[in-house]
Amino acid sequence: MNAVTPNTSSTAVREEGAQARQEPALLPPVDVVEDPTGITLYADLPGVPKDKLDLRVEGDQLNIEAELALPVPQGMTPSHAEVSRARYRRAFTLSKELDPEKVSAELSQGVLRVRIPKAEHAQPRKISVQVQ
């Protein structure tokens, strides 16, 4: 399914509709903040160690895929589960003025912070008018 999302001018990061569905995954909650020099995304990924996080930019897509790794004692039977899947997945489409080459990310205590700067040419600058 390829959902057609109205690309409103106020939203620089557009969420992608369902892609080819792989195994079911949890949708992590995110905050997305834009400032004049770029976009910062925060995602809650509790239970994900650094090596189980797969963050990639493919074309104009930012894909977050992560696996939960909880050390669980042997022989534990779950009696109540609100987190019922062991995988997180979410994808965003980056808009043109963002620079996918300069994405940086850090993961700390289950919170992923991704910084996507705007390309040089897209950053605000004053344009001087030349008079012939």
Partner: protein, 145 residues
């Protein structure tokens, strides 16, 4: 900070609806209500020797979390501070789904737990509380002489 008038679009709403629905369809109601979907999310499991509680609480200061066990009821209390830059006129908040503020979750534990044998650790945003069962309640092999 500027917040848009329509912070959620229809697709985000559908996602949320789907999450809420999945919560409705495998519920086990208790005296404390459904108790689902809050922050932090809770998973509870048991082994023959202990009860294990996992609270999915990313981005908190573990020192500021209070865990109390009173008459078989475990309470997890804490606060998640805002990470978003406040009061910045030039930034725009496009999506705001993460929880912030004070939280409290309550779990009632089985009768055979030992209130003096509780341990807790915080790793990768998950608070793990382990409560041992009383020695006398643990399964034992009885030898026939």
């Amino acid at each position: 900070m500027y917040r848009s008038l329509f912070p959620r679009d229809i697709f985000a709403e559908l996602d949320r609806l789907q999450r809420d629905m999945s919560g409705v369809f495998d519920y086990s109601p208790s005296i404390r209500g459904f108790g689902r979907g809050g922050y932090p999310a809770l998973n509870v499991g048991s082994t023959p020797t202990s009860v294990e509680i996992y609270a999915f609480a990313p981005g908190i200061d573990p020192a500021a979390v209070e865990i109390n066990l009173d008459r078989g009821v475990l309470t997890i209390d804490g606060e998640r501070k805002a990470t978003l830059p406040a009061g910045d006129e030039k930034s725009t908040l496009h999506l705001n789904e993460r929880f912030e503020g004070r939280f409290r979750r309550v779990v009632s534990l089985p009768d055979d737990i030992d209130p003096n044998a509780v341990s807790a650790d915080y790793r990768d945003g998950v608070l793990h509380v382990s409560v041992k069962r009383r020695e006398s309640a643990q399964p034992r092999r009885i030898e026939v002489r």
